[in-house]
């Protein structure tokens, strides 16, 4: 833990030093924007939006603060002051989060201070350089220049911001902790367009100050846009959590199973260079792959010993029941298709719902969930068998690769496990028969 603390200290110190350096340089070279009340008004808007940032991706916060930042920047430059200084000073206030101050936390505010000052200062510099020769009134082709400068400034702002977040998270928590981001085109596109709007509003308000109240309304719209994205994402996550919880409530042995299958699927997907959005679908598919079991008698799922053909058919049904249950949930359609093929074999055997077509190779995603599922089944203790070693599980996957499992996926899992250095399963138990025998001697019975 002390290691994490050292790394936190390094990041916090270096980021805040960079921030201070930028502020000093900006003060030395620039003139602070006047009138002060206008600067303060934008600074308040910026800070309020920044404080209300929401998580739009794993550990990636977004807010619409780029709008007031660029409005202010354009106003400052067109009135003959330094946008770099004005924006860097605004951003310096952003990290003053009441909760952090109350709890005397230092890492978060210091890091955010450096990262915000750097990104806002860089955006201000772009405006200072590109709009230096512009004079009032701003008309016709001048507006095009304002739009171009705002677009570039917004791009610089977000790129600097995200790179610094990435570096901080990677350094402090390690690369594994950062789930690859999905739907980034939308997130970046939204920021760039917000930048353009911010810049245009700057060109307006510098000539017609009475538009200020309307402009603040636009900032509220921007905020609503970001929040609505986060809410939708939260609704989707809550849905998945709901089903995972329902599964856990029903069957003690699946506890943690879905989460682990999701994790193994993710590291396999990363090995195979999946995009953030593909990884998201894969994760969702892994989380719901056993939802069909909710409709299968619990005794069968936990039964020790062999199932008779009727019972086996009933258990097999869970692979397509997931479709019947989740048919109406729009955002899960692709994941459901993947999940319904998780008992489909690479060579076209096996069983499943729409994700399984007899004789055909299932989708790569289905194959990944299948391997992750089988790997976790072997390396965790079940009602009918104790956990086996990782080496045994990998050997077993390898032996069936080309028939039941996708060879590329099995290779990817092995490589990913070597890379992470993680070991799963029992330390010594590598005989299937012994593992089953041990489990049968196990007398305790698990009921709900």
């Amino acid at each position: 833990m002390s290691n994490t603390r050292t790394r936190k200290a390094i990041i916090a110190t270096s980021y805040s030093l960079v921030g201070v350096a930028i502020l000093i340089a900006a003060i030395y070279f620039g003139v602070f924007p006047q009138p002060l009340w206008l600067w303060a008004l934008f600074a308040v808007a910026f800070t309020v939006l920044e404080l209300n940032s929401v998580e739009v991706n794993d550990r990636l916060l977004q807010s619409s603060s780029v709008m007031p930042a660029l409005t202010a920047g354009v106003v400052f430059v067109l009135s003959g002051y330094s946008a770099t200084l004005g924006l860097a000073a605004m951003a310096a206030l952003g990290p003053l989060v009441p909760a952090d101050i109350r709890q005397k936390r230092l890492f978060q505010p210091l890091t955010n201070f450096g990262q915000l000052v750097a990104s806002a200062g860089a955006a201000g510099l772009v405006l200072d350089v590109m709009l230096a020769d512009l004079a009032l009134p701003v008309t016709g082709s001048d507006v095009i220049l304002v739009v171009a400068a705002s677009l570039l400034a917004a791009l610089v702002y977000s790129l600097v911001n995200w790179q610094l977040v990435r570096i901080a998270v990677r350094t402090v928590y390690g690369p594994r902790q950062l789930v690859p981001w999905s739907h980034m085109t939308g997130t970046i596109g939204r920021l760039l367009l917000m930048g353009v709007v911010g810049g245009l509003l700057g060109a307006l308000v510098v000539q017609e100050p009475a538009a200020l109240p309307l402009i603040f309304f636009v900032y509220a719209i921007g905020h609503m846009s970001v929040v609505s994205y986060a809410r939708l994402r939260e609704a989707e996550e809550a849905t998945l959590r709901g089903f995972v919880k329902a599964l856990e409530a029903k069957d003690l042995y699946t506890r943690g199973h879905t989460e682990r299958v999701a994790y193994f699927s993710r590291i396999i997907g990363e090995q195979l260079a999946f995009s953030g959005t593909q990884l998201q679908n894969l994760r969702w598919a892994a989380l719901i792959h056993d939802v069909g079991k909710l409709a299968v008698p619990g005794d069968l799922i936990r039964k020790k010993g062999k199932l008779d053909p009727d019972e086996y058919a009933e258990v097999m049904a869970h692979a397509h029941l997931v479709e019947e249950i989740l048919a109406e949930v729009d955002f899960l359609q692709r994941p459901v298709e993947i999940a319904s093929g998780h008992h489909s074999h690479y060579d076209g055997n096996g069983y499943g719902g729409s994700g399984h077509q007899p004789g055909k190779q299932p989708s790569l995603e289905s194959c990944i969930v299948a391997v992750a599922d089988a790997f976790d089944a072997m390396t965790s203790t079940r009602s009918y068998r104790m956990a086996l070693t990782q080496a045994y599980a990998i050997d077993e996957l390898r032996r069936n690769s080309g028939s039941q499992f996708h060879p590329v996926v099995v290779d990817a899992l092995e490589k990913a496990l070597v890379q992470t250095g993680e070991i799963y399963g029992s330390a010594h138990l590598s005989d299937e028969a012994v593992a089953r025998h041990l489990a049968e001697g196990d007398v305790f019975d698990v009921t709900f």
């Binding site: 009134p137 701003v138 008309t139 016709g140 507006v143 739009v147 939204r190 367009l193 917000m194 353009v196 709007v197 245009l200 060109a203 307006l204 000539q207 017609e208 100050p209 009475a210 538009a211 109240p213 309307l214 402009i215 309304f217 636009v218 719209i221 921007g222 609503m224 846009s225 929040v227 609505s228 994205y229 809410r231 939708l232 609704a235 989707e236 809550a238 849905t239 959590r241 709901g242 089903f243 919880k245 329902a246 409530a249 029903k250 909710l294 409709a295 299968v296 008698p297 619990g298 005794d299 029941l321 019947e324 249950i325 989740l326 109406e328 949930v329 729009d330 955002f331 009921t447 709900f448």
Partner: protein, 412 residues
């Protein structure tokens, strides 16, 4: 669609002739150049084809933004060309109607909506114009526009919601209070439309064509955000329906029981005038009230035996896992509690939601499991009003069923 829903409000029958008369009276007196009038009408008609998501009650279109901009643009100093603005609204409304008709939109939905928008926007324009001419307010620059604009906007919002409550209260089985609350939920959309329209009007003199981008982009953000809010609600609803399906897919519940209970409970809630948030909880609670049955796939449990209370408790445990459903879980947990115990007063802590779901669910079981007629089924509820079923709820259920014609001999 039931009979009562297909009735058009009287006022909207006047929409066509009314708009034509307004156009004939105002347009000859308009001082704004004909080209500008034409552009405004065309913009209104095209924007009228864009339904803004998440305004299920007010049924707003992007034409609201154009209407908000028109009086600000048709202005020289403090003098608004009111005749021009009203003329554009009238012709614009007729043009929108024609386009919506051509596209095949539901006339019962869009005619009342167009009527409301036309009247409310006209009030906005008149008020804006009149206030701008009062001397102390009009300072001659942009700041002088803000107060009249603000007041006129409030008047528009009030007109729109008030008219909705009255018109819908008359033609649907809705209480006016409920209709008003529903309309108020859509005001963020209307406010956004007016603000972006006003922003456009403010920006035109300075940014020219770029004003379109400065206003259309924020509108776009809002449009997408409203769409996402709608998707969020839909996702929750779909999730809940999916969870509710599990007992039926597993063969542990009567087919369609959850859906039917939810639909009928919704009607009872509207009859009793519940708050919209309660109606939402009621719908979710009704859909999921049997979710506890998924634990019945355990034969050990079935062997031990269980009661309806156990089902409710297990269900509440599962539902309670989702943070946004804690209240719903509470309703389900207390589902089988009597509304009063012998010798006691009515239990005030038991929610209307629990009472409604209990009664409606019992009614549905009586119809589909015990194969009783609706009259016999409601009679069994009447017999249980001492402790099990709240007489108020049973009376309301009876009213709703009567209105739907369930007791009519032809129905069975």
């Amino acid at each position: 669609m039931s009979r009562s829903e297909s009735r058009l409000p009287l006022l909207s029958l006047l929409l066509g002739p009314g708009a034509a008369v307004v156009a004939a009276l105002t347009l000859p007196q308009a001082v704004t150049p004909g080209m500008q009038l034409l552009v405004a009408v065309v913009a209104t008609a095209i924007a009228g084809l864009i339904w803004v998501p998440n305004s299920p009650s007010l049924k707003l279109t992007a034409a609201g933004a154009v209407a908000a901009a028109v009086p600000i643009l048709f202005r020289t100093g403090n003098e608004v060309d009111l005749a021009g603005a009203l003329g554009v609204y009238a012709v614009g409304t007729l043009a929108q109607w024609a386009l919506l008709l051509a596209r095949g939109d539901d006339q019962y939905e869009c005619v009342p909506a167009l009527t409301r928008h036309f009247v409310s926007a006209s009030v906005y324009a008149v008020l804006f114009s009149e206030l701008l001419e009062i001397d102390p307010i009009s300072t001659g620059n942009g700041w002088g526009l803000l107060l009249p604009l603000g007041v006129a906007t409030l008047a528009w919002l009030a007109m729109e919601t008030g008219m909705y409550a009255i018109m819908e209260g008359n033609r649907r089985p809705l209480s006016r209070r409920f209709a008003l609350r529903m309309a108020l939920e859509d005001l963020d959309v209307l406010g956004t439309l007016i603000a972006t329209g006003a922003l456009f009007a403010f920006a035109v003199p300075y940014l020219h064509w770029w004003a379109l981008a400065a206003a259309a982009l924020p509108y776009g953000f809002a449009h997408v955000a409203f769409h996402r809010n709608q998707a969020t609600r839909r996702t929750y609803r779909q999730t809940i329906r999916a969870l509710a399906r599990i007992p039926e897919v597993a063969g542990l519940g009567t087919e369609g029981h959850a859906d039917r209970t939810a639909t009928l409970a919704f009607d009872v809630a509207r009859d009793l005038g519940l708050e919209p948030i309660e109606v939402q909880e009621l719908e979710f609670a009704a859909l999921m009230h049997d979710i506890g049955r998924i634990t019945l796939t355990d034969s050990s449990l079935v062997a031990v035996g269980y009661t309806d209370d156990d089902i409710a408790r297990w269900g509440a445990e599962i539902i309670g896992q989702a943070p946004y459903l804690e209240q719903v879980a509470e309703h389900v947990r207390r589902l089988n509690e009597p509304y009063r115990h012998p010798g006691e007063q009515i239990d005030p802590s038991l929610s209307q939601v629990s009472k409604i779901v209990r009664a409606v669910s019992a009614y549905d079981h009586a119809i589909h499991d015990r194969h009783l007629t609706p009259l016999e089924a409601i009679e069994t509820l009447h017999q249980g009003v001492a402790y099990d079923f709240d007489p108020e709820v049973v009376a309301s259920l009876r009213r709703v069923l009567e209105e739907q014609g369930a007791f009519h001999p032809v129905m069975r």
